[in-house]
Amino acid sequence: MTIQEIQEEIVDEFAMFDDWMQRYEYMIDLGKSLPLIDESLKKDENLIKGCQSKVWVHGEMKDDKIVFTADSDAIITKGIIAILIRAFSNQHPSAIIEANTAFIDEIGLKEHLSPTRANGLVSMIKQLKLYAIAYQTQLN
């Protein structure tokens, strides 16, 4: 599936819920199913700055695609990063670089998009894209 298709799938899933509580509960469930980062990769280099909670993200290339793993010590943050990873993992770097993130707004998490928000969703997206740019440079 393309990033666009996965994002539409996520938007459809969130559209089933009537209120914020259900959306957050679903997000918390998604957090629990996050592909966990290897403990050895929970190091400061992989820590995303600008978050009140700790978020570690790691990306590595497998057959021209980047596979992301992540973890956080806060469960809502874990849910947010799980959604991002579902959309961006197993994709070609160029697709990740070009992807837009408007779907975050559509699933009712717009409030987390503010750059001043303490959870650093914007920083997470930036980090995923930085991985893509770095690996794209290697491919060229």
Partner: protein, 403 residues
């Protein structure tokens, strides 16, 4: 007895909704809300007599100068300073602390010692670290116990003839604990060290008497006492303020200027370079009037009641750890089971409740407890038991969702 419903009507912000729910504001330790009387004072200043002070001969300038200096006297009287010029008006507690730290940089020598407490806000640690780097002085720390109290035996053993300055908050911002500053001041003076007390967290709850305390410096911010942001105070004993060099150069702080030499103005102007926050200072005076009209004894008694009620209800939720349990102002710093404080803060914000989550600019305390942070609910005299009930329901909901 306070008429809380009447008091609440003074705070227009309490009528607002957040995420479709009535706002419950329990982040008073970060900043307090502003009563209409203070808002009116700000509007009145800009509508009627906005002018620069201390130099104009015209009527508006005179009116603004009078109002500004009257506010200084209100602040002086509130903290019971001996003289108005011992009250330096600053942009806030951090600014006041930096002013003192900067002043001490010319008084300290290599090998001198500064003592700070383990309960400090970052703003209380960083300026002293910078000062020590600059002067070669040594920074020592009063350790804390598990219950959040400072170890006074350890403090006494840190003091010696090299100790030049002791620095401690009156009330800890992360835990809300009231520190034994009378003892700290007395012991420091016994070795001729100066004492600077940060009253930022104490000032909304406790009316400090700087003469009775015999403290050398006391600092606080207007925005925690129902006043505007960007205004604070530095109380200093006259002898100490005369000893410290000026902090910033600029207008207002000079006496005579030639290209060869400038002589500085006397107190308090020596430390008040440039155009100050005139409106903010006047509004701070109005905020103190407002608080004193209600009365600090009545405020403290009611807030203690809220604290006891909230503590008992919160503990009944189960799996709750409260950090700092005795001798506190109306602050509860807590965690629930292993749930991250950020998660709780996010969920209860959706329910219209404002609390602070995180390390509260006091990472060393969080490291001591080995936690990422806490949820901090801080109450003010305009909060109610009904709000606490709603808060407890929200906490239960968050706990259910996040466990």
């Amino acid at each position: 007895m306070l008429d809380i419903q009447k008091i609440r009507k003074d705070f227009p912000i309490l009528n607002r909704e957040v995420n479709g729910k009535p706002l419950i504001y329990f982040d008073n330790a970060a900043t307090s809300q502003t009563p209409q009387q203070v808002i009116d004072c700000i509007v009145d200043y800009y509508s009627r007599y906005n002018a620069n002070i201390h130099r104009g001969v015209h009527t508006l300038s005179q009116e603004a100068t009078d109002a500004y200096e009257e506010a200084r006297i209100k602040i002086q009287q509130h903290f019971n300073a001996a003289k108005p010029h011992e009250m330096i008006l600053t942009s806030g507690t951090t600014d006041s602390i930096n002013l003192v730290a900067n002043g001490f940089s010319s008084l300290l020598q290599k090998g001198d010692e500064i003592i700070v407490s383990a309960l400090e806000h970052h703003s209380n640690i960083v300026p002293w670290q910078m000062l020590c780097e600059h002067t070669g002085a040594i920074l020592k720390v009063i350790p804390m116990f598990e219950d959040g109290k400072l170890d006074m035996d350890a403090y006494v053993s840190l003091l010696n003839e090299n100790t030049k300055l002791v620095f401690c908050n009156h009330v800890s911002n992360a835990l809300g604990i009231i520190n034994p500053i009378e003892f700290i001041i007395e012991k420091a003076h016994a070795v001729n060290a100066a004492v600077l007390i940060d009253g930022a967290q104490a000032s909304p709850h406790i009316k400090a008497d700087v003469q009775a305390l015999d403290v050398d410096f006391y600092v606080a911010s207007a925005h925690k006492i129902c006043g505007p942001t960007g205004v604070g105070l530095l109380y200093g004993k006259e002898a100490w303020l005369n000893k410290l060099p000026p902090y910033r150069g600029g207008g207002e702080m000079i006496d005579q200027v030639t290209f060869e030499k400038t002589t500085y103005a006397g107190l308090p102007h020596k430390f008040e370079a440039g155009t100050p926050n005139i409106c903010g200072v006047i509004a701070f005076g109005a905020a103190l009037d407002y608080m004193n009209n209600i009365g600090f004894d009545a405020i403290a008694a009611y807030e203690d009641e809220l604290l006891a009620y909230a503590t008992q209800k919160l503990l009944a939720v189960g799996d709750v750890t409260i950090y700092g349990t005795e001798n506190k102002v109306a602050v509860i710093s807590f965690n629930i089971a292993n749930i991250h404080p950020y998660d709780i803060g996010t969920i209860i914000d959706k329910l219209g409740i404002a609390v602070r989550t995180g390390h509260h600019c006091a990472q060393p305390i969080m490291d001591f407890y080995n936690i990422p942070g806490t949820v901090r609910a801080s109450f003010s005299f305009y909060n109610t038991k009904e709000e606490i009930d709603t808060f407890i329901e929200a906490i239960k909901k968050a706990k259910m969702m996040l466990s």
